[in-house]
Symmetry: C2
Subunit: 95 residues, 2 copies
Amino acid sequence: MNSIPDLLGMIAAICTTGAFVPQVVHVWRRKSAKDISFGMYSILVVGVLLWLIYGVLIHSWPVILANAATLVLALAILLLKIWYERRDRCVSEST
Amino acid sequence: MNSIPDLLGMIAAICTTGAFVPQVVHVWRRKSAKDISFGMYSILVVGVLLWLIYGVLIHSWPVILANAATLVLALAILLLKIWYERRDRCVSEST
């Protein structure tokens, strides 16, 4: 850490990755993900995966670590979305 | 564009920024944002704003453009969330 841009970039990375934590908690607590866009999280998972590969190719640990964490969180939201939609479909079919 | 990492980074940036478009459309169409985390989009807006300042400081147009677009989309989702919550509160108070 040797400059203001470096420090700013690090705080920015922590925010844009950490931001997904309250969303995982929110969906998990509400047991609902109807307002969450399947399209958003599908494209996001692909994008973050590409950032991860990019990080590996340019040997950048900050890019690798930030995107590995975001990938886990975005995948968790996507899987919860799929899980709750399947549950809702089963409930509506059985009633 | 002169290497595979550059191309990969560009596609990754388009995905992680573009991903927010279907979420804006989804919330707008459903007229509901209950499952959207206020915490996520508040932290995200701060993080993207810091990325934007970082981009200006390091004179990186790709960082500036990608984060300016993400900022508009994330702000739109946050404002829709606030708008719909206020509407729901008014409806529940009037009934």
